[in-house]
Every structure is written in C-alpha cells, then in structure tokens.
Symmetry: C2
Subunit: 200 residues, 2 copies
C-alpha cells in the first residue's frame, strides 16, 4: 500500500498476529519512518529496543498480564464496549497478541527536551511506526499498559535511569485481515475560531 491517504485512513490497531518473522530490513524501514517525526527542539529523544528474544517477550507479556489483572481489566470491562474489551483482553492474554516483535519505545530524558515535552516528542514517532508498518503490510498497535510497570520493565531491558519507557508496539503480520478503523466524523470534534462555533 503506497498511497499516503490509503495508509493513514486504513491504519488501525492489530491485536492478533501470525508468527511469521519480521526481517531486520522491514524493521529498519519502519524505524526510519519513526526517526523522521518532529520532536521538541529537534532533540530526537526516542530510543527503540527491538525485542525478538522469546524469553524476554514472554516476561514482558507476563508483566503486562499482571498489570491488566491488577486494575486495567476491571476498568476496561466497565468503561469500554464489549467488542473493544474482548479485543484488548485477547491481546493481553495472548502476549501482546502473539506478535513476533515488540518495539519498546523510550524517551531519553537527558536529550534536552523539557519533561513536559516528552509526549509531544515521542508519540509522533510512534505514530510514524504504526503508519509505516501498515504501509508495508504489517499490523501493529500503540500500547502503554506495560510502561506502568516501569521498574520491572527497566530491569528486564537493562534500561538506565535516563530512559523513560513510553510505549510498546507489537509488530507482525496480522493473523487475519483487519477491518476499517471506527472513527467519528471530523465535524463532531471540530470548531471554527472558538469552541462552540460549529465547523460546518
């Protein structure tokens, strides 16, 4: 899929992956898109750890399952649609959907950006990863649950103090074709000049 708007408008979370391996060259293409995102003062504070190791993926999946059971699951069951809850529950229980690669994205807090600017300097890069994955036929998802267990995450991945884990992106071929994303129309979230003045 090459057309820019096709890639963007059809991008959606993949929550179940085949175990087909992802070659380094495809990962590098996806990460190259990530590194072309903007960041505060062009500090480029992203650090990517590409996890393929079975034991590590298993430990990260187990940490995620425990965090889910410790609160996320009940919250989601109460607040989300049944369909979304089932998909996310399945993602967690299967070890981030059984993806063959987890990309752990951290922010380098020593890179110079203000702490308040970490989100605006990391999530654009994460979005580029998701889009680039879609462009070359891979599924992915933006997950943050595992980062709430940051001490254990740090220990598993040898993360030094100056790295703050922000997201984990599972990556692989989708187990089955993905449907379109479910999104509200632009006019529902857009105003003209001031809040309250309808866009159209």
């Amino acid at each position: 899929m090459n057309d820019f708007f096709d890639v963007v408008l059809q991008q959606r979370a993949c929550r179940e992956f085949s175990d087909e391996p992802v070659p380094d060259e495809d990962i590098e293409r996806i990460l190259t898109a990530g590194t072309h995102a903007p960041s505060a003062e062009n500090t480029q504070p992203w650090v990517f750890i590409v996890v393929r190791d079975d034991a590590l993926r298993s430990s990260l999946s187990d940490l995620t399952r425990r965090l889910w059971a410790a609160g996320g699951r009940d919250y989601a069951a109460a607040h989300n649609t049944r369909r979304l809850f089932n998909e996310v529950d399945n993602l967690v229980e299967r070890g981030l959907g059984g993806a063959p690669v987890f990309v752990v994205v951290s922010a380098d807090t020593s890179a110079g950006a203000h702490a308040t600017a970490l989100g605006s300097s990391i999530f654009p890069a994460v979005q580029n990863l998701l889009l680039a994955a879609n462009a070359i036929g891979y599924g992915s998802a933006l997950t943050t649950l595992t980062t709430y267990g940051s001490d254990e995450l740090r220990s598993l991945l040898d993360l030094p103090e100056h790295l703050t884990p922000m997201a984990i992106v599972p990556l692989g071929r989708p187990a089955r074709p993905l449907g379109p994303p479910r999104r509200r129309p632009v006019a529902e979230s857009t105003y003209r000049d001031r809040y309250g003045t309808p866009w159209r």
Copy 2:
C-alpha cells in the same frame, strides 16, 4: 505527493508561511487524517479549533511572543543550535510564521481516557495532521509553547474546563521550499533485545 514514504521522510517543520488562504476542503482532508489516529480505548479525545480570524490569530501570536520572551527564548538560545534558534525565534516573532490558519488541538479530559494517556491519545493525531498537510502541499509545525499560557488561551477560544490545550499547528503554504529534515540514523537510537546491545 502521494507516496507514503516520500511524505513521511520529507516531512519537516515549516516556520514561515505565505498568506495564501487554505480552503475548508483542504483543512477537512487534513483533519480527517487526524481523526484516524489511535487513542487510548478509542476515546478519540481530540478537539480541533480551526482559527482563521485575524484578531484571534493576532492575540494567540502575542501570547506566544510573551511566553517566548518570558523564558523559552533564553533557554533555546543557550541550548539549541544557532540555526534552529533563529528559525524558531523567527516563527514566534512573525506570529507562528504568519500562517493563515492555526489549528489548536485540545484533549477532552471527559472522554474517558486516563489523564496519563492524554499525550498518547493526542500526539499521534497531531502527527497525522502534519503528514497530511505535507501530502497535499502545505507546511505545518508541531508547537506547544502557547499551551503554557493555558488560562489566556482558554479565555481567547472559550475553551471549557474539560478541554486541555495540547498543541497549536500553524498551517499554510510554505513561504519557500523546505529542505529535508535533519535526523540521526536509526542505528544510533536502536538496540536489539536489551539496551546496550547494538542494533547492527
């Protein structure tokens, strides 16, 4: 520019705009890309305010100039390259580069996502805006400085309490052709399985 990787790899901040107007249909196309981003629990908490009004753009520019003078400028002068500092200083002094449209992006904190998930639910959408703008020939930039003056920003745009301003994206035709983005190679920020193990 249609090819996905061309759009992503050539996207960069535009900091000086022509005053050529941006038609509603182009803005809507850009915002549609924004609304196709992921968000925590698919809450889609983005709220876009498309500001074209001259007096409002002037007030927002003035607020930004004051915040820059109050600290951002000195910090940037001391920490950034001269080239980047000059570009950003020019952007601020010219009123967000003289862009004919400012898109103010807020997070709806009543939409259900945890407060800790606001960044991961807003900046992917902002990145989609920047990329889509580039795809159809517009310049843009991800700016957050103005949001540090959130009380005045709220008052100017009638933002209710449940909206948290997160970014302002100036949008318009670039005043001159933009060079390529300056980014470090992937291997400098990527590790294999654990921090410290080189990617290649």
